[in-house]
């Protein structure tokens, strides 16, 4: 579990994070969402210690990162895996060498054992026959998988993903989301994901933190999002007409008014929004 307590961060006169508090639960996919410039990347970088916070605490299972000695911080970082937006694979190394790198640096295992672990994690991210390829020879989606494999090769307790779907097609994005979600459950790790992707929010968002202009605007799960009344969040999440319609449909589903194909004729005739309005009126 990661606790963020009253975190503030500024660059010069510009305030980026203003009194953010949240809890990132273990075994869950915790999402940080928000518009560009809302401070989500800065918050994540503060959480992994790449930026120092001006005020507040970041606590990893009882250990406070903000006042930790350098050696303890190094030790903690070995329990953190991170998937970067651009994958951040080492260009001069093959896929196998990239994934093996943390093992070479931090374990005294023999070569055979390292290779076994590398093959194990590469199989887990469903990558085969890529061991000897260089990052320039594989696709964007494959790079993300290698990034995930490298992040989990030391069996971390915490996994951070910075916009894991950026630059990927919707289908590959879904696969990557599913993979991160499965790994979170399988290894029972605390996963923190920065994302813009609404598919990710709806599919894997178990605990969502919405930032607006550096402040915490909303917190909840993907189910809560459907029924939320926060104007700023709704404007952000359901930006297009298509997404607003999808939201109406999901609300109907959640309320049991429609079960996928059932009652479609009625919805088409009366309109989803009308049905929802009537339903709300009834409940009131």
């Amino acid at each position: 579990m990661i606790e963020i307590k009253n975190v503030c961060k500024s660059f010069g006169d510009k305030e980026i994070l203003n009194d953010i508090s949240a809890v990132m639960e273990t075994g869950m996919t915790n999402l940080i969402i928000g518009t560009s410039g809302s401070g989500k990347t800065v918050l994540q970088k503060c959480m992994v210690g790449l930026f120092e916070v001006d005020k507040g605490d970041i606590i990893f299972d009882g250990k406070n990162l903000t006042n930790m000695a350098q050696e303890d911080r190094k030790e903690l970082r070995q329990q953190i895996g991170m998937l970067f937006q651009g994958s951040a694979l080492f260009d001069s190394m093959t896929v196998e060498q990239n994934v093996k790198f943390p093992l070479d640096m931090f374990t005294k295992w023999n070569h055979q054992k390292k290779i076994e672990r590398v093959n194990d994690v590469l199989a887990r991210v469903e990558l085969k026959d890529t061991n000897k390829k260089y990052p320039s020879e594989i696709s964007g989606g494959m790079k993300k998988r290698v990034g995930i494999a490298r992040a989990i090769v030391l069996r971390p307790k915490y996994l951070f993903c910075d916009e894991p779907n950026s630059g990927l097609d919707p289908q590959t994005s879904m696969v990557i989301d599913k993979l991160i979600h499965e790994i979170t459950k399988e290894y029972n790790i605390t996963t923190v994901i920065n994302t813009h992707d609404m598919n990710s929010v709806m599919e894997i968002g178990e605990n969502i933190l919405y930032l607006y202009n550096g402040k915490k605007e909303w917190e909840g799960s993907s189910k809560d999002i459907i029924f939320n009344k926060n104007k700023k969040l709704n404007e952000f999440i359901f930006a297009s007409e298509f997404l607003r319609d999808a939201k109406d449909m999901r609300m109907l589903e959640e309320k049991g008014i429609v079960d996928n194909d059932r009652n479609m004729e009625k919805i088409m005739r009366e309109g989803g929004a009308n049905l929802l309005m009537n339903d709300d009126d009834k409940s009131e």
């Binding site: 190094k74 070995q78 970067f84 951040a88 080492f90």
Partner: protein, 245 residues
């Protein structure tokens, strides 16, 4: 003000390098890799420059020594001393500032922009000691060796040009090399080589490591690294000559 903060950041970077390696074997591997990159990668350019530097020096000295009162051996002496004192350490290091400096700044800049440095930091690796330390040590090992090679090849280039151009015979040239030879000059050249190697590697690392932005900034950082290294080499050259000679 910016100059002082830059110097401060540079000194902090150097201080940050001195930590216990996470894994000595990996650091050793990186040191060997960098030694090959810096040393072997610059071997051909140093060989070509040195040979021509000595050759041109011999031809131009002969052109200027018009008095029949001066013995031919003087040409060898002039070539030897200019090559050892100035050409081999300074000229070669200025070329290396371009070749090695831009490579180091570009490599680190690219790693910074593509978040590879952040990835290493998050793994718990001290990137200053892992990425910069081996580069500086490799430069301190290989650049003085390249300078010694440049001295030998420069002097040999002068002999080759002298004998091929009919300026003086090989025997006369060899005789001239032994007249008034001061071993202190070689020692002085090595002091310069170590100083310049440190300047090239550390300054280029500093500008590459601190790149902010994108590919345009990587190019700018490489250019700034080369220019700053060249200026500092010339400045250090003067200071060392003033105090040691």
């Amino acid at each position: 003000m910016k100059l002082f903060s830059t110097i401060g950041a540079y000194l902090l970077m150097l201080k940050g390098m001195f930590t216990k390696p996470e894994n000595f074997k990996m650091y050793w591997k990186e040191l060997m890799h960098q030694s090959v990159e810096i040393g072997m990668g610059s071997l051909w350019i140093v060989t070509i420059i040195s040979l021509f530097m000595g050759a041109v020096s011999a031809v131009q000295t002969a052109y200027q020594l018009t008095s029949p009162m001066l013995p031919k051996e003087t040409i060898a002496q002039v070539v030897r001393d200019t090559v050892i004192l100035e050409f081999a350490p300074t000229l070669v290091c200025i070329v290396l500032a371009g070749v090695v400096g831009s490579k180091i700044a570009g490599e680190l800049g690219n790693m910074r922009v593509s978040e590879q440095i952040d990835a290493l930091e998050i793994m718990g690796i001290n990137t200053k000691s892992y990425l910069i330390g081996p580069k500086i040590i490799a430069a301190l090992i290989t650049i003085p060796l390249l300078v010694v090679l440049a001295m030998v090849l420069g002097i040999y280039g002068g002999r080759l040009a002298g004998s091929l151009g009919g300026i003086l015979s090989g025997e006369t040239y060899d005789r001239g090399l032994l007249i008034n030879f001061f071993p202190k000059n070689v020692w002085f050249a090595l002091v310069k080589a170590y100083t310049f190697a440190f300047i090239i590697s550390s300054v280029s690392s500093f500008f590459g490591y601190n790149v902010k932005g994108g590919s345009l900034e990587i190019g700018r950082a490489s250019t700034t690294a080369v220019i700053t290294s060249c200026i500092l080499i010339l400045f250090a050259d003067y200071i060392l000559a003033f105090f040691i000679l």
